[in-house]
């Protein structure tokens, strides 16, 4: 969906355990878009997939778990080497 105009220094983060190359200056949400990851969470009501929408901290669609803390706004957090990002499953599943 997105491509980079410039090469800049890279860092490696993990997304759901898989290594993903990101660039210094990326936010987590930008890194996910650049890596072609098509959704970052599912919703609590219907379980529908969502991806970053506004990238300016107002829509909360880019909520992800970052280094173990859930519901972080991915568009406001800069990537760091070794950062562990996990996509979120929003809908409660009975018995899980």
């Amino acid at each position: 969906m997105f491509k980079r105009l410039h090469d800049t220094a890279t860092v490696t983060i993990t997304v759901d355990g898989q290594p993903v190359r990101a660039r210094i200056g990326d936010t987590v949400a930008a890194a996910l878009l650049a890596a072609g990851i098509d959704h970052c969470r599912t919703t609590p009501v219907t379980g529908a997939p969502r991806a970053p929408y506004c990238l300016m901290g107002v829509c909360f669609d880019c909520l992800v778990t970052i280094d173990g803390v859930g519901n972080r706004q991915g568009c406001l957090v800069p990537v760091r080497e070794g950062m562990a990002v996990a996509t979120q499953i929003g809908k409660r599943e009975a018995g899980r």
Partner: protein, 469 residues
């Protein structure tokens, strides 16, 4: 980087938001000796208009245009002004006693201010069409953000839809960056032209008409511009097609990315949560704080500057920030020498000239603001237009009661993406004006904060005594 522990317990002036209004206000106040701190939740200053101004990888000056690079002066001025500029700092509460709750890297502090300037700017108007929650549908502002801050541009079949100056600017910027745009679906009603015409002379006196016209030409030369009065996004789990039509016709356009834009509206969440009075602006179709000539709100000591005070654009925002800062300096340090506010007001008036023309020309049609059927209105709680309309018909009087019935506005975005739609839908169903229906009553925390962050607040004698047996 400033940590929560580095902050003073109190400041003369706390500025919230590091866009043009916040940067200009903090610079002016700090230069004459007010102890000043500016908080911004983003990784860098600039706000949305000058996003990434100190760090953008885009070095080719023509891609973003000269208006963007003008933001560099504001950022460097603020840097040397003596103000503490703290980025990555989320303000989650501000109360009428001027206590500011801020969280930095997981640690929270309560800071006492003598004056506060809210400069939280604008956000994009909700654009509730069928399918707008699908991955692959984003705001035009989002694409501009990744372009400015990360040098990241759309790849694949890209469609722009909506209306407003920012949509044309984004199209031009993307074209200059080498991006192919499949189509621009223009939702502006032809009838808007007639209504805007009386304001054309003012617009012709403003600095914007030449630039605006040049942008239109630049984009129209390379992108098919199609007038539409219906629009939806279709796909299973992600965007596959943009469906659009005029009158009886319907067309389907395969797309990987749809960028939506219907203008910007004030981000009222923080100001509203302080209890400051707001009113409906019928020309800009949004709520805005009630302010005096110095941009002071109905809560003493709290001013709202920039687009948060009503939409007027980036250059006007800086002038508004200066006017609010001059008032703060005059109240706290009357002996300090400040610019003549009348001169700043004149500059502001020039910047605001022509706004009426743009507001009316790019007024989004009713059908795009008041959706029908199963179109999602509240993205967080997935509440549909049909549900909101039905609840209004059964007697629900306003957005706050709607929260209790449907949970609209109660998800993490706290009504930012549904508030105006819910107000307008209730107004339409009940035959009232949006002014009569009102807006959500917002409460702190206006941004999410973890219990651990709250628990990290420094504990004083009073707090200890409160829990002693």
């Amino acid at each position: 980087m400033t940590s929560a522990a580095d902050l003073s317990p109190s400041y003369d002036l706390v500025v919230i938001g590091g866009g043009p209004a916040g940067l200009a206000a903090a610079s002016l106040a700090a230069r004459v000796g007010l102890s000043t701190v500016l908080f911004d939740e983003n990784p860098g200053v600039g706000g949305q208009i000058y996003r990434g101004i100190t760090s953008t990888p885009i070095k080719n000056g023509t891609v973003l245009g000269e208006e963007y690079w003008a933001g560099g002066a504001l950022a460097s001025e603020a840097k040397v002004s003596g103000a503490a500029i703290v980025t990555g700092a989320t303000v989650w509460t501000l109360d009428p006693s001027l206590a500011v709750g801020v969280s930095i890297a997981g640690k929270a502090r309560l800071i006492q201010a003598r004056r506060v300037i809210i400069a939280t700017g604008a956000l994009e108007r909700p654009f509730p069409i069928p399918g707008w929650t699908l991955p692959g549908v984003m705001t035009a502002g989002a694409a501009q953000t990744t372009l400015k801050a990360q040098g990241l541009v759309p790849d694949g079949r890209t469609v722009l839809a909506g209306c407003g100056p920012l949509l044309w600017l984004l199209a031009a910027q993307l074209l200059r960056a080498g991006v192919k745009i499949e189509a621009m679906l223009d939702t502006a009603s032809r009838r808007n032209w007639l209504r805007a015409l009386p304001h054309l002379p003012d617009f012709l006196l403003s600095p914007y008409w030449r630039k605006g016209l040049a942008l239109l030409r630049e984009v129209k030369a390379k992108v098919p511009v199609i007038a539409v009065d219906r629009l939806s996004a279709a796909g299973d789990g992600k965007l596959k097609e943009v469906v659009y039509g005029t009158g009886g016709t319907e067309h389907r356009l395969a797309a990987d990315l749809l960028l939506l834009h219907h203008g910007v509206v004030p981000n009222v969440n923080l100001a509203n949560a302080t209890g400051a009075a707001h009113r409906w602006n019928e020309r800009q179709l949004c709520f805005e704080p009630v302010l005096d000539d110095d941009f002071t709100s109905s809560v003493p000591g709290i001013a709202v500057a920039g687009d948060g005070a009503g939409i007027a654009g980036g250059t006007a925002a800086a002038e508004r920030g200066r006017i609010a800062a001059i008032a703060a300096v005059r109240a706290l340090k009357p002996e300090a020498s400040v610019p003549d506010p009348q001169v700043v007001r004149q500059k502001l008036a020039r910047e605001e000239m022509g706004r009426a023309f743009l507001d009316i020309l790019y007024r989004p049609a009713d059908s795009f603001r008041r959706p029908e059927g199963d179109t999602v209105v509240c993205r967080c709680e997935e509440v549909t237009a049909r549900q909101v309309r039905a609840m209004a018909d059964t007697g629900c009087e306003g957005p706050n009661q709607m929260k209790a019935f449907l949970r609209s506005g109660m998800g993490p975005c706290q009504g930012r993406l549904c508030g105006l739609t819910v107000t307008e839908l209730i107004a339409e169903q009940r035959g009232l004006s949006p002014a009569e229906v009102g807006y959500y009553r917002l409460r702190p925390p206006v941004k999410p904060i973890t219990l651990a962050e709250l628990a990290s607040l420094p504990i004083g004698e009073a707090e200890r005594k409160a829990v002693e047996r």
